[in-house]
Amino acid sequence: MATLDTEQPLAKHQATENLRTDELLLNMGPQHPSTHGVLRVIVKTDGEIVKAAHPEIGYLHRCFEKHSENVDYMSVMPYVDRLDYLASMNNEQGFAIAVEKMLGLEVPRRAEYIRVIIAELQRIASHLMAFGTYGLDLGAFTAFMYGFRDREMILDIFESVCGARLLYNYMWIGGVARDITPDQVRMIKSFCEYFKPKIDEYNTLVSYNKIFIERTRDVGVIDLDTCKSYGLTGVMLRAAGFKWDLRKDMPYSIYKELEFDVPVGNGEQGTLGDCWDRHIVRMREMAQSVRIIEQLIDGIPAGPSRGKIGKVPKPPAGEHWSRTECPRGELGFYIVSDGSTNPYRVKCKSPCFMNVATLNDLSHGVMVSDLIATLGSFDIVLGEVDR
């Protein structure tokens, strides 16, 4: 648990001074369950202590950026779904906002309401997944079951709203693909009612469990300077105590009119910016997402759910950069248009790529089990790292 000296990790133990130990090169992954996808980490260990961990990415590379150049703007949407496959709706919202700004398109208010409600539901689903699998990484299987039970309800809502459970293609350029019905509004309302008390229950079950706290506090500490030098965003940055949320600080869509808090880590159980802080920030963000949905769900304005837009959108020549707040951080899209139906260039800046890059810095002189705890708390999705 305590971070040992980087240069001479074994110097403190006098008894082992004369016993020479060899360094062992260990491959963690690409098929290891604690790597959340296909990430290979080459770990250099000295006994139980990690000397270096080198993440190898690229196993899920699917040429998203090149593919996008060969299809029109509407057809990029299914590919955007597949970036961060646990938070597809947030990705879609990010890309749709980028293209709409290029087109100079005004989205109907009804569509904006629906988009924000759905995106916040997706944020809850994504954080539930993070909460569940983090428990799984640390050996607490129960959390996984609870997380998946509630995520299933959100997926049921999504299935009825857009017809798919994981890769939705729901938020189209100019609005949403299908309108929301009163029945679905009722479903979302009853889910919020059901879910509010559950967050406290999960905190009792996992967050404030002493064994969990002992495993995660003072482990994988990322201070603000490291965050800034790596360009970390989202939960990782907020857990380090810095209040930065694009929904609040550079509001897009209708977030300007909404009331919600931005939870930040405060080093309650150990050091500021440790794994426990990252975990608790996620748990508190879920409560804020429910708060946002409850503000919107009763007052969805009437009107069209999709703006007037041609079958094939054709943005004028130029370039545009926009970013939105996804569950894992800021997702940015840089799109260059040459005035034709296909984008000339699409660049995606994914938050998980930065998150996984910090792993090597955090790994010097920690125990192997703490490395897993650190990696789990990043909540990476390899689909987004590799694109």
Binding site: M77, P78, T142, E159, S160, A177, T204, N209, K311
Partner: protein, 154 residues
């Protein structure tokens, strides 16, 4: 860590774990009194909601061979061939009253490539191409996943 701290930690661990166990036991009781919620899949089936995106189906009687679906498809898995109608051919209308000017010769979809995005069915002007709720169509041979809707039997 002093001995007192050590004992304190053990006490904390015991109590916080018991609290968590309380939550679990609450649900354990509920599940055992209300019955299982698992669906025994091949025998029982879940009812899918309206508009679930399953296997694609094209009603060729209504198709006007406009190829808008093939254009909208991001993975290019829709294959359409159509000829111009002969001069003396009788007028052919769809159910919606749209005149068919082309004679559809081939309409195939490679379902193994399809990503079920729903862009094709949204583009269809006569609503003849749509997603069904069907999801059980595994085959042994990959060629059988090319659905030929001109002579379609399932």
């Amino acid at each position: 860590m002093t001995f007192v701290d050590y004992c304190e930690t053990i006490k904390d661990i015991t109590f916080s774990t018991l609290k968590g166990m309380g939550v679990t036991i609450k649900y354990f009781w509920k599940v055992n009194t209300k019955g299982a919620i698992t669906i025994q899949y091949p025998e029982q089936k879940d009812t899918l909601p309206m508009g679930s995106r399953g296997l694609l189906f094209n009603d060729v009687e209504d198709c006007i061979s406009c190829k808008q679906c093939a254009q909208a498809c991001p993975v290019d898995c829709i294959y359409i061939e159509a000829d111009k109608k002969g001069a003396g051919a009788p007028a052919d209308m769809t159910k919606g009253g749209v005149k068919k000017t082309l004679d559809l010769k081939r309409f195939e979809i490679d379902i193994s490539l399809c990503c079920y995005c729903g862009l094709c069915s949204a583009a269809c002007p006569t609503d003849c191409l749509y997603h069904t709720k069907e999801y059980e169509y595994s085959v042994v041979d990959r060629d059988k996943h090319i659905m030929d809707y001109m002579n379609y039997k399932r």
